[in-house]
């Protein structure tokens, strides 16, 4: 269990760095989705299933969706 938690924490730190370093918001949307799933795994490993459920549903589905919709509107307006 400790190995899983340690690995998941390191992966979360790496994923967070990737999200910040990426410039293009389109690529960031997918990176944020991955970040959300990894965060969900960390929450499972720390015995917090409610928070993990919340984070997976929100961070992997709702958040990238809203980013993509905002981007579609922004790029659609460029005429």
């Amino acid at each position: 269990m400790n190995v899983l938690l340690g690995t998941a924490l390191i992966l979360v730190a790496a994923a967070g760095t990737v999200v910040v370093v990426l410039r293009d918001p389109l690529r960031q949307a997918l990176a944020v989705s991955m970040f959300g799933i990894l965060l969900g795994i960390v929450f499972f490993a720390v015995q917090a299933p409610d928070v993990a459920l919340s984070e997976i549903v929100v961070g992997a589905v709702a958040l990238p969706l809203m980013i993509l919709l905002a981007l579609a509107k922004i790029r659609g307006g460029v005429q």
Binding site: L5, L9, V12, T17, V20, Q28, A48, D50, S54, E55
Partner: protein, 114 residues
Amino acid sequence: MSVLAYGVAAWLLFVGLWGIVQSRNLVHLVICLAVVQAATYVLLVAIGYRVGAVAPVFAGVRLGTVAVDPVVQALCLTDVVVGTTVTALLLALVVQIHKRTGSLDPDSLRDLGE
């Protein structure tokens, strides 16, 4: 393990802040803010953890088994959902800024008087 858990929370906080400060794109800035929020979730949930404990759900589990702290989980739970809604609000603001000024560069948002 302490260093790793709290260290990851601190790392996410500073990486997100740095992303916000040197961002050249408003959407990128809003996403970095989401990373900073994730740092607080990791910190809160890490504080509540107890070694060798189970999740605070007693459906089928004998009462009296050592479980992790439920209060910080309750805080994180509502925070995750509401934080995403506030991110949606910020994205709506960004969309309107782009419609009014045509650019997404924070440095170009100088005069609010125009």
